[in-house]
Structure formats: structure tokens, C-alpha cells
């Protein structure tokens, strides 16, 4: 049994292009990129499509559900589980699995979005807990 610690999460450094993503995060909405040329979702969001380089991209809200593609538990003083979660919309996003026994985390596990506060006045970050 390794309970997930409430580690101090460093605040994301926000740049002009990603600002709308973080403003939505403060409202509890997880945004992902949508390529207008291919109709494919992508992550992390950016001002160009990683599939075509076109600026024809928008931000859309994810339902915040997915499955664990892979993970690793960092065995430091405050252990945490880093993971790629494959969202139902498609993209695999780098995140943490939280609010659970870290020794019970498994690939293929169904997870749901949980927002976690960051240090100072930082924007919250999208993490996932067993659904």
C-alpha cells in the first residue's frame, strides 16, 4: 500500500499561446487541441496542428475520461504516479494518477479527471483518479 502523497506541485509557467488553456483550467475545463484539417484531437495544445502545421486549430473541451496507457511510480519521499492517460477523444496526455493506492495502479485502468492545485497562485493541473 502506497497512498498517493499530496506533494507540492510546481505551478506551470504560462506562455502567451497556452494562456487560454490555463484560463479554462481555472474554470475546471480540460481543453485539448482540435486540428481543423484532419478532425483529429491533439495534446498538448498549441497554435499549430502537429499533424499538418496549419494554424487551423481550435481548443475544445475534453470529457475528462480515459484509460491508463502506461505509468511509473516515482519512489521518492512523496511518491507519485506519473502516467500517460489515453483520453476518450484520442490523445495520450502526460499526467499523474492520484487519490488512490499507487501500488494498485494498472495499465488499462479506467480513470476520470481530477484538478489539483499548484503552488502559489498557479493554475490547477489536470490529473486523473480511478473512475
Amino acid at each position: 500500500m502506497t497512498p498517493a502523497a499530496n506533494r507540492a506541485i510546481p505551478a506551470p509557467v504560462i506562455d502567451p499561446t497556452s494562456r487560454p488553456f490555463w484560463e479554462a483550467a481555472r474554470e475546471g475545463r480540460l481543453l485539448i487541441g482540435l486540428c481543423g484539417d484532419t478532425g483529429r484531437h491533439f495534446f498538448y495544445p498549441r497554435g499549430c496542428s502537429p499533424f499538418t502545421l496549419s494554424p487551423n486549430v481550435t481548443l475544445v473541451e475534453s470529457k475528462g475520461m480515459g484509460v491508463i496507457y502506461s505509468f511509473s511510480v516515482m519512489r521518492v519521499a512523496e511518491p507519485y504516479a506519473i502516467a500517460y492517460v489515453e483520453l476518450d477523444e484520442g490523445p495520450r496526455i502526460l499526467t499523474n494518477i492520484v487519490d488512490c493506492d499507487l501500488d494498485g495502479v494498472r495499465i488499462g485502468q479506467r480513470v476520470r479527471l481530477v484538478w489539483k492545485q499548484t503552488t502559489g497562485e498557479g493554475a490547477p493541473v489536470a490529473m486523473f483518479a480511478p473512475a
Binding site: I9, S72, R92
Partner: protein
């Protein structure tokens, strides 16, 4: 343009230090440059091309070229592929030589993360300001160890690879390191000892990880006609390849590396296959790094790496493929957290017949050196060299 036999490695030097308490990073660069020149039988004034990566302090090559006093340069390149930079530098030097941009190129690597007490693998690292992925990944605790842990976890899930199979890679490295007086970890370890060592980033144990060391290395690369005029054995660059792989907008597949492409390019240029290779230097930041790259290079099928590395198959004189006979990053050193340089140097030793007699592969003519820089679990660059000793 093919680079096949466009250039040769005529000087190679590995710094003997593993903890540089009394030298600056710049001074370590100078000491490895001097060592490589001595090895080649050349002087500073012969150098007209210089290659370095992000470990060189300052702006690209500019500040370190000043420190070294290089004043006859016609060509410089500071491509940074992380730990695999120096493998790419050899290819870039061959291209520059073939294009007539330089005749004698120096490549240096040095660093002192150990003396600086750097937590190399267990705290999140950024590669500079304005890196676009950092805001999304640094808060997640993206450590080097966890990024490779995720690769290992997925490999186990898809192919049934076991911790014991990964451990065999460390066991093989330790069998080689026992003969290297400079190696940080000279003790031969068993599979049981590796899997019993503490977990660092599941499923990777402490002994699945490379060492943190200071030091460095340098190479001299030149055109074949100059190489033949020098006194050292001629180690020719027969094949080269480089490739990059990343998250691809969230479609990342952790089961393979960019080595799939860089290796194929190098083998194609060289006109040889993995079956022709009896010695390979394979980047070994972690045991899983070796396993994935061996598959991607074609030494075995995808998913069969666990079976391939088991039972001593990577031990010189025992197995099918001798690897990292200096002990590699897993046991010998990992200067500046960048293992590509020492991969080339041990391949050169093997081709010269100058590896330790206990690990020397007899009558070796072909060798492979391969590296991956960055994080296998997020984004990285791979570079591959096929080297050949010419009569």
C-alpha cells in the same frame, strides 16, 4: 550523398576521472581534447573543424573554442541531441569533410554532474526557457527515471518482458566492468541482486539505472587519406543515421524508439545487417533503454528483447552480441549525463583491438555504436554509427 567511408576516427580519449572536484567543465573539455590529439599524433593547429553539444558551457561552440584556443576553424557545429549528440557529430563531421568544409575535426564532451551533486534522474529537469512542453509536464514530475519507467511498464504489458530479463543487461555490463579499473561499479552482480535493489521508478530498480559521473571524452575525425598517414589503426565511418521521435500530438507509442529509423539508415548506408555485428555499443541510461534499442536496431524482433538479452547473451565471449565492454553507463561512467561519446570510444577500442583482453572481441572488423538522447518516454533523438577497421 553517401557518407560511406567519407571519414575516419583517428583519435579517441576517455577522461579517467569519475569525480572532477578540481576541474571546471571547460577544463575537462580541454583535457579530453588534449588526450585525443595525443592519441592521434596531431596538434591543436591541425584542427579546422569543431563539434560540441549542450554540455559545452557558453553560446554554442563559441566560448569553449575560445577556452581551447582553437584559431584555425573553418567549420563548427553544436547540434544538441542530448546524450546521442556525439554519434551525430561523427556523421556531421564526415559530411563536412566530404563537402570540403574541414579536414580534421575535434569533438568534445565533458561535465561534472557528480561533483555538482545533481539529482540527474529523480527530479524534473527543464532544458531551458520557453520550452513549450514544460508547462504541461514539469508539474507532473517528469523525471528521467519515470519517463523510462513508463517505457518499461508498457513493454512488460505488451510483450511480457520481465524484471529478470532487464536485469540480465546490468549483469552483462557488470561482467565487463570488473575488468575496467576506472569503472565506478566493478562488482559483478546477479539477476537476483538487481531485482532486489530498491525501486526507483516502477518497474525500474536502482541497479537498472546508470551511474552519475563526471568526466568526458573526445574524438578526432579526418579524411581517409590523412588517416592513413597517421600511426593509429584506421577506423572508418561506414554507415550513419539519425532520427527524432516525439509525442506526435498525443499519439506516442512507447514500445519503440527513433533508433528504428536511425539504425535502418546506418545499416543501409553501410551495406551490412545486424547479423554482421558482433560488438555493439548501446546507450544504457537504463536497462530498458538497451532492450528497446536492440529491438529497434534489428538484433531481434520487436518484443523479443527480453529473451535476447537473457542468459548472458550480451557478455563478451559468452553471448551472441558483446555490448558495452567498458561497463557502459550502467557500471563504468555517464559523463555529463550524456553517454554517446563513451559508446563511440569503446567501439573504437574494440576495432583497434585495444579493449581489455578479457572482453576484447577477437578479429573484429565491424562495430556498431548507437545512442538515444532526451527521454525515450517523451521525445528524443537517436543516432547510429557503423564503424569498420580498415586494413
Amino acid at each position: 550523398m553517401s557518407l560511406k567511408h567519407a571519414a575516419c576516427i583517428v583519435g579517441a580519449f576517455e577522461h579517467p576521472t569519475r569525480k572532477a572536484e578540481h576541474q571546471s567543465v571547460a577544463q575537462l573539455h580541454a583535457e579530453v581534447a588534449w588526450g585525443a590529439l595525443q592519441d592521434a599524433g596531431l596538434t591543436k593547429d591541425d584542427i579546422d573543424g569543431y563539434f560540441c553539444a549542450g554540455d559545452a558551457p557558453g553560446m554554442g561552440p563559441v566560448n569553449i573554442v575560445d577556452y581551447l584556443g582553437l584559431d584555425r576553424l573553418r567549420h563548427a557545429d553544436s547540434t544538441d541531441f542530448g546524450g546521442s549528440s556525439y554519434l551525430a557529430h561523427v556523421a556531421h563531421a564526415a559530411a563536412a569533410i566530404a563537402a570540403g568544409r574541414c579536414n580534421i575535426a575535434l569533438i568534445t564532451l565533458a561535465g561534472r554532474p557528480r561533483a555538482e551533486a545533481m539529482a540527474t534522474g529523480t527530479t524534473p529537469r527543464s532544458w531551458g526557457a520557453n520550452v513549450p512542453d514544460d508547462p504541461f509536464e514539469i508539474p507532473m514530475g517528469r523525471t528521467v527515471a519515470a519517463a523510462y519507467g513508463m517505457v518499461a511498464m508498457r513493454h512488460m504489458y505488451e510483450y511480457g518482458t520481465t524484471s529478470e530479463q532487464l536485469a540480465w543487461i546490468k549483469v552483462a555490463a557488470s561482467h565487463h566492468a570488473q575488468h575496467n579499473p576506472h569503472a565506478m561499479l566493478k562488482k559483478v552482480v546477479t539477476v537476483e541482486e538487481v531485482v532486489a535493489s530498491p525501486l526507483v521508478a516502477d518497474p525500474l530498480h536502482r541497479l537498472d539505472c546508470c551511474v552519475i559521473s563526471d568526466g568526458g571524452g573526445a574524438l578526432i575525425v579526418t579524411r581517409p587519406e590523412i588517416a592513413r598517414s597517421l600511426k593509429r589503426p584506421v577506423v572508418s565511418v561506414r554507415g550513419t543515421g539519425e532520427a527524432l521521435k516525439h509525442q506526435a500530438g498525443g499519439t506516442i507509442d512507447l514500445t519503440y524508439s527513433a533508433g528504428r529509423k536511425s539504425g535502418a539508415a546506418a545499416f543501409t548506408e553501410a551495406g551490412v545487417t545486424p547479423a554482421d555485428i558482433r560488438y555493439a555499443s548501446i546507450y544504457d541510461s537504463f536497462t530498458i533503454t538497451v532492450l528497446v534499442q536492440l529491438e529497434d536496431l534489428g538484433f531481434c524482433a520487436k518484443g523479443q528483447g527480453g529473451a535476447f538479452v537473457a542468459d548472458g547473451n550480451l557478455i563478451s565471449g559468452v553471448g551472441r552480441l558483446a555490448f558495452n565492454t567498458d561497463g557502459g553507463g550502467l557500471c563504468n561512467n555517464h559523463p555529463a549525463n550524456r553517454g554517446g561519446m563513451t559508446k563511440i570510444i569503446e567501439a573504437v577500442r574494440q576495432l583497434r583491438g585495444e579493449a581489455h583482453p578479457a572482453v576484447q572481441v577477437p578479429d573484429l572488423a565491424l562495430a556498431l555504436a548507437h545512442g538515444t538522447g532526451g527521454l525515450l518516454g517523451t521525445r528524443h533523438a537517436s543516432a547510429t554509427l557503423v564503424l569498420e577497421r580498415l586494413a
